[in-house]
Assembly symmetry: C2
Amino acid sequence: MITSLNNKTVKEIAALSQKGKERNKKDVFVVEGVKMFMEAPEERICGIYVAGSTEQALLKTCGEKLSRLSYELVSDEVFGKMSDTMTPQGILCLVQQFHHDLTFLLKNGIKERKLFIVLEDIQDPGNLGTIFRTAEAVGASGIIMSRHSADVYNPKTIRSTMGSVYRVPFVSVEDIPSVIKALQEEGVSVYAAHLGGKTCYEAFDYRKSTAFLIGNEGNGLRKETVDCADVLIRIPMEGSVESLNAAVASSVLLYEAYRQRRV
Amino acid sequence: MITSLNNKTVKEIAALSQKGKERNKKDVFVVEGVKMFMEAPEERICGIYVAGSTEQALLKTCGEKLSRLSYELVSDEVFGKMSDTMTPQGILCLVQQFHHDLTFLLKNGIKERKLFIVLEDIQDPGNLGTIFRTAEAVGASGIIMSRHSADVYNPKTIRSTMGSVYRVPFVSVEDIPSVIKALQEEGVSVYAAHLGGKTCYEAFDYRKSTAFLIGNEGNGLRKETVDCADVLIRIPMEGSVESLNAAVASSVLLYEAYRQRRV
């Protein structure tokens, strides 16, 4: 059992929780809690740490998955130092990062019924994670993010995905306009959520392959991105509301597409 | 200019940011930033604090509203202690709490076209604030929350409302089932978002007066609450998603009602 706060592994894991650079260097990310452990693809798990006082309870909750895999016991104090959460559940894993390929992503899903969400510079990890969760819920083909978006592997993002990060393919790209072009070449119609949109979002047919562009929380989409879209759509708003939360805007559009596809 | 971190006012404001009890005792809440100051109803503002280094810029940005009202200057260090944000904008106000009345709330809006959202034990301040923002965007008549929901006046909630807290009437109630009865007596149909719902949400007509019940992030709605609802509705989900984020679920339902009302 690791009991020293100065243990090298303990320091490494704390650094992996806190620093994106460290995560990328080691090509892993940290997930916490029973749900995130249970849903983690087994072949990607490269380390499991369990707090001493919770071991017996976790062996029951996590069933044979935990008993089968080897894990390292750490003292509760050490676990507290590794953990990013206020009320840790006593289990934490290192998981290998994903490297989805844009070409694969563009081909993902039923040919004529793809559904993408393209995020430009989304800053809030909670919003990003929530968008992953909603994207899985509507059966989206994938998520495309600009390089300056929040880090998918930030512990807050990971928590908010509620496991969808394991299942929704995503890529981070340098240049959004060129991805829009690639989407259009695949027969995907690209809709930009924009305050300047003349027509409300529900007026369009999203049953065919569709991508929605969602911009930064404060500034919306860049002009050069908007210019590449096929259509500007508006989510109408009453009162003095100037914009919606980015995860809410994404959800309204994704669920409208999903509603049309199910009718 | 207040320059001492030990100044009584400074300590009081830090306590008002941090403690719900203090806020309720003094019947005020703290708002930060230019937008929240500009949108605050003037008659409710009972204190304005400006960081020395930002005064001149703020007098420009905030125009005559700031020049007209009296404010207290504080040193940047003192402002940092008062502030709850990572990158403070240098303006912070105390605003009088709202005391909306349930009877008034139930009568609010066009008689046959009311739209309520009823929240049972929503725990996350960000979710609660985001629901306020979306509720204003769809022209909702009001928000009803159980007593054990997150605190509306928590600085995180306030920030997430983006000013909607000033404009959407809300009440906190002891007993949700009795409120459901009161809504039904007003002719409002009450729909519970529930995983056990047999019919998808979009199958219903929300053009008449409608209320949506949304449950706690982890546990959903209580059984006694679900039992009072007129209909259980389901938001369909693909993949391994077990539930949606509470603010996302609220948005999907509120925007579907708003879509139907606009068509």
